[in-house]
């Protein structure tokens, strides 16, 4: 997307704008329906349809049911491997988390911008490319870890920060270091997903800018600049689709590991 004479503007795609006007308020706080909220609703609808289509109970599953069972089995296996039998209670939460992040990431990759002539400025918005959204998901996971940890173990939960067999004189220092690395977990969870999505989308916008600016600059430059950039865009898009899936998996995997820390205390 070019701004003022050929300059590429990669950040406009992350702008959160209200769709139905800014006037909606409750007690002085704005509750305007934004494009971010719209794409979260789209993610919810897509996920709901996907699960509805697959929640039949045929003994020999059709393709849709097999796909849904593939996802549920994948998460169920992961929880069982990382936590053990006590992890079964948390499978619904981790499954919802994984599927929401996966589908939100993928919705941001949809080539909806093709419909721009119909509705000017219409583009796919990646919900998880904002630290506010990924931060809330990370805080949710971390809060569940803390609540489960303190509910099950009470103050014995703090034994998590003193590994078995540390010499007595090292315990204060080790406790502080372990506490710090524990407290940084929600930040790292949220930041990882946010930066991965943002970096990927900025890269694709910059490459797309190269393609357009090269094509506008004449046939010779178009051949040298636009065509390799376009080929690179195809490759990077494939990589970004893989990164969408990997980042969703990593978020769910780390959540299950943190839950294992809280439930089993090593």
């Amino acid at each position: 997307m070019a701004a003022e004479g050929g300059k590429i503007d990669p950040m406009h795609q992350f702008l959160v704008e209200p769709i139905f006007g800014k006037g909606w308020e409750i007690a002085g706080h704005s509750i305007a329906f934004t494009n971010s909220a719209l794409w979260m609703v789209i993610t919810l609808a897509a996920l709901w349809l996907f699960m509805l289509g697959g929640m039949k109970r045929e003994l020999v599953p059709g393709r849709w049911q097999a796909a849904v069972e593939g996802f549920t089995g994948f998460i169920s296996n992961m929880m069982h491997t990382n936590i053990g039998p006590k992890g079964k209670a948390f499978v619904p939460y981790v499954f919802s988390l994984f599927m929401f992040i996966l589908i939100a990431n993928l919705m941001g990759m949809m080539p909806v911008g093709i419909l721009s002539p119909v509705h000017p400025g219409f583009h796919a918005f990646t919900v998880t490319s904002h630290l506010t959204v990924t931060g809330v998901l990370a805080i949710l996971s971390f809060s569940i870890v803390l609540i489960v940890g303190f509910w099950r173990h009470g103050f014995h939960f703090f034994s998590l920060f003193v590994p078995h067999g540390t010499p007595v004189y090292m315990i204060p220092l080790i406790f502080l270091i372990e506490l710090f690395s524990f407290l940084i977990r929600p930040f790292s969870l949220g930041l990882r997903l946010f930066v991965a999505m943002t970096a990927g989308h900025i890269l694709m916008k910059v490459l797309a800018g190269f393609v357009i600016n090269g094509a506008n600059a004449g046939l010779g430059i178009a051949a040298i600049v636009s065509i390799p950039s376009f080929v690179l865009m195809v490759g990077i898009t494939l990589l970004e689709l893989l990164v969408c899936a990997i980042q969703a998996y990593v978020f769910a995997l780390l959540t299950s590991l943190y839950l294992n820390d809280a439930i089993n205390l090593h």
Partner: protein
């Protein structure tokens, strides 16, 4: 050097850190492949740890990208 130029130079230097992220991630996957080819039967069981290592290396490298973005668009 005025502040705007210094910010742009700083953002460019932060991009070197992202290259170091590539080295780190390549190290993780390279080690995994090395050992997986020595013991293919045990490789599938360790896939979870592969992705944990990848996520950790990638995050620390992406922090350099975050610094670049802060320099360009926030400060």
């Amino acid at each position: 050097m005025d502040a705007e130029a210094a910010k742009l130079v700083g953002a460019g230097l932060a991009a070197i850190g992202v290259g170091l992220a590539a080295l780190g991630v390549g190290n993780v996957f390279g080690s995994f492949l090395d050992s997986a080819l020595r013991n293919p039967a045990a490789a599938d069981g360790q896939q979870g740890r592969l992705f944990i290592g990848f996520a950790a290396a990638e995050l620390l490298g992406l922090l350099a990208f975050v610094v670049a973005m802060i320099l360009l668009f926030v400060a």
